[in-house]
């Protein structure tokens, strides 16, 4: 029973990782930038979600606003911070990204206060008994369903639509794609928008699960999502998804059975080290 519960909790956590890491892997696939500041958009989404829900009472509107605001934030980050640095070596953009992230955290603190925000009437807090003594928060079930739905839509967009194919072509060979009339700028904008919107979305889910958004809530996702995309084989979307879920479950068991020796957040990296020793190309890399 405990086993099933731990697996379920791991999948809940894994879904959040998946939403955050997906955007990161899209950016890496396209530009080879380790986009640490991605986690700031996750925090931004969470704040927008709580503020809009408290003001309007509508969670659906909150999700939409959070995704759009985070998406626009992502495009702005790309245009203002990364685009001018594209000709530099990748570590330059990485440093810019770390700087952006720290600045964003302090900006959240100054604008929204250090204490963090909560929902006045937290939605989706009811209990659902799934049978066999298993009990979930409504928000947890919705989140897993929502993650599957979103990823399904994304997969469809990427393989069946013109712009999706253009994105894939750009990842494979930017110069060739450009010579076929694909606008690199447009593809990059869309990628940043979609990836960042997903992070904003994840932020609202986490706000719902914890009923707390704080300036520093992006700290852990900022580096853990990096570990996940390495595990998944850098730039691979299916690999990232699988790595997120596996890591969620490994952490769930790790917290309980080796929590006294290894911190929950260290487990991710211990796991990463073991995997890289056995499969240096990542768990799910195509190569």
């Amino acid at each position: 029973m405990l086993f099933v519960e731990l697996v379920a909790q791991g999948l809940v956590q894994g879904s959040i990782y998946a939403l955050v890491a997906l955007g990161l892997t899209l950016v890496y696939g396209l530009l080879r930038i380790l986009h640490v500041a991605h986690a700031a958009l996750f925090t931004l989404g969470a704040y927008v979600g709580v503020l809009v829900t408290n003001a309007s009472g509508s969670l659906a509107l909150a999700f939409a606003c959070a995704a759009v605001v985070a998406g626009i934030g992502g495009v702005l980050m790309y245009r203002l911070a990364y685009q001018p640095l594209l000709s530099q070596p990748p570590f330059v953009a990485l440093i810019a990204s770390i700087g952006l992230f720290i600045a964003a955290e302090e900006a959240f603190r100054i604008v929204f206060g250090a204490q963090g925000l909560s929902f006045v009437n937290p939605p989706l807090q009811g209990q659902v008994a799934v049978g066999g003594g298993l009990q979930f928060k409504q928000a947890e079930l919705w989140m897993m369903a929502g993650t599957v739905l979103i990823i399904g839509i994304l997969a469809w967009l990427q393989s069946r639509t013109r712009i999706g194919v253009a994105c894939q072509a750009t990842v494979t060979d930017p110069q060739m794609a450009e010579s076929f009339g694909i606008s690199l700028r447009k593809v990059r904008d869309i990628n940043f928008f979609v990836g960042s919107a997903l992070a904003g979305f994840a932020g609202v889910w986490v706000a719902l699960l914890n009923n707390l958004v704080e300036p520093t809530m992006g700290d852990v996702p900022s580096y853990k999502a990096l570990a996940i995309i390495v595990l998944g084989g850098l730039g691979s979307v299916p690999g990232t998804l699988a790595a997120s879920l596996v890591l969620g479950v490994v952490e769930a068991f790790g917290t309980i059975y080796i929590g006294q020796i290894l911190d929950r957040n260290a487990i991710a990296f211990a796991f990463l080290i073991v995997v890289l020793m056995v499969r240096p190309q990542g768990l799910f890399a195509r190569r």
């Binding site: 405990l2 770390i98 700087g99 302090e106 807090q125 929590g259 006294q260 929950r264 957040n265």
Partner: protein, 385 residues
């Protein structure tokens, strides 16, 4: 990652700029105050700063000390030892503060303690609970109960509730470890049975796996250390999983934010702390009212403790006519103080002996549950030990 912060120096300058107007031109007697204004502990830092500012403002409104105004010199230490060392050094060397007050956590306060001791500047600690702080030397003073003492009090509370089988959930830092050590010591003396023990990190907000395991352990009570930002989600998730046994927390829970985060799940949560909101002491009630008036928010344990520590420092300065050094140390050590967190006096290690307040969440607010009075079990350490 924080070590890469290119903004830290600028933030320090900003913190300073904010601090200066407090004193204005005639400020003569300087009180140093290290506090986490940025970083993960910034919320507690804000409460601490408000508490200290209130104490200084009240003293200045009453005419200051020996005809001079007091000035609070504020430095941001991000609750981190490596930020605290330069901040406190500057405070002593450049600003020439006559006394220091810590409005910060144990990590940074431990680092600051030895610097104050070496410079022979008295240092009054508000709510950092690590044992090493007062061991740094005779210029150290602490107005709150040490972690071990609070932990022993927690065990006593479990016994008074008539429970025996407990699960221990500990936050992995100085605060949590010393509470857990005290709790285990008390549990052994009082014959409690610790079924299982878990640890979690400061950054954790999601406790799904831990909650599942605690449910399987089926305890009669849960002793969980942490801060409101951990405890709010933890208590809410425990209740959501259908665990209804008493949850006992400590002063880290002691913030209105706790009820805001955990919502209805917070009802009935017990905390051992130093601030009794239902106290009939006029000093406590006056502080609660003044704080509310000054800030618009209700006071928490951090605000009350920082106010108290600053008050104690000012009281000492009044006795020495504003002089620091050894005279102030002796004045502080021999004084007795009527404060919002009770009547205090220091023992030979400059720790305070006091009763432990147990508060319970009722109708979205902390109220008095009981008071643990056990001078033997709650005895602070002394110099001899």
């Amino acid at each position: 990652m924080k070590s890469l912060s290119p903004f830290a120096p600028k933030l320090l300058v900003a913190a300073l700029a904010f601090a200066l107007p407090v004193g204005a031109a005639w400020a003569d007697i300087k009180i140093g105050f290290n506090v986490p204004s940025t970083g993960f502990a910034a919320a507690d830092g804000k409460s601490a700063l408000e508490g200290a500012k209130l104490a200084v403002a009240e003293a200045n409104a009453a005419g200051g000390v020996a005809g001079q105004k007091l000035e609070l010199v504020v430095y941001d230490d991000q609750a981190s030892p490596k930020e605290a060392v330069p901040a406190v050094t500057k405070m002593i060397e450049k600003d020439k503060v006559v006394v220091g007050v810590s409005g910060s956590y144990s990590g940074s306060t431990r680092a600051a303690a030895s610097i104050f001791q070496k410079a022979q500047v008295p240092y009054v600690v508000a709510y950092a609970i690590h044992p090493d702080i007062t061991l740094a030397g005779d210029y150290m003073f602490r107005v709150s109960a040490m972690g071990e003492v609070q932990g022993r009090g927690g065990a006593k509370l479990v016994q008074e509730l008539g429970k025996k089988n407990v699960v221990l959930v500990t936050v992995k830092n100085d605060f949590g470890q010393s509470l857990a050590a005290g709790f285990k010591e008390g549990a052994q003396k009082l014959g409690l049975n610790i079924i299982n023990e878990y640890e979690y990190g400061m950054a954790d907000r999601q406790f799904g796996p831990l909650v599942s395991k605690v449910k399987a352990d089926n305890p009669e009570a849960i002793y969980a250390s942490g801060y409101y930002f951990n405890a709010g989600p933890l208590v809410s998730q425990l209740r959501a999983a259908g665990i209804t046994v008493p949850v006992i927390g400590q002063e880290g829970y002691d913030s209105e934010k706790f009820m805001e985060i955990a919502g209805p799940a917070s009802e009935g949560t017990l905390v051992t702390t130093s601030l009794d909101r239902d106290s009939d002491s006029p000093v406590t009630q006056a502080f609660l009212a003044d704080y509310k008036k000054a800030t618009g928010a209700g006071a928490d344990m951090v605000a009350a403790s920082s106010y108290t520590a600053t008050l104690v420092a000012i009281d000492g300065l009044k006795k020495t006519g504003g002089k620091g050094g050894e005279a102030l140390k002796n004045a502080l050590a021999s004084g007795s103080y009527d404060t919002p967190i009770g009547k205090l006096s220091f023992n030979d290690l400059h720790e305070v002996q006091k009763d432990l307040q147990v508060q319970v969440v009722k109708d979205k607010a902390f109220h008095r549950h009981s008071v643990i009075h056990d001078p033997v079990l709650l005895a602070p350490p002394t110099r001899a030990k």
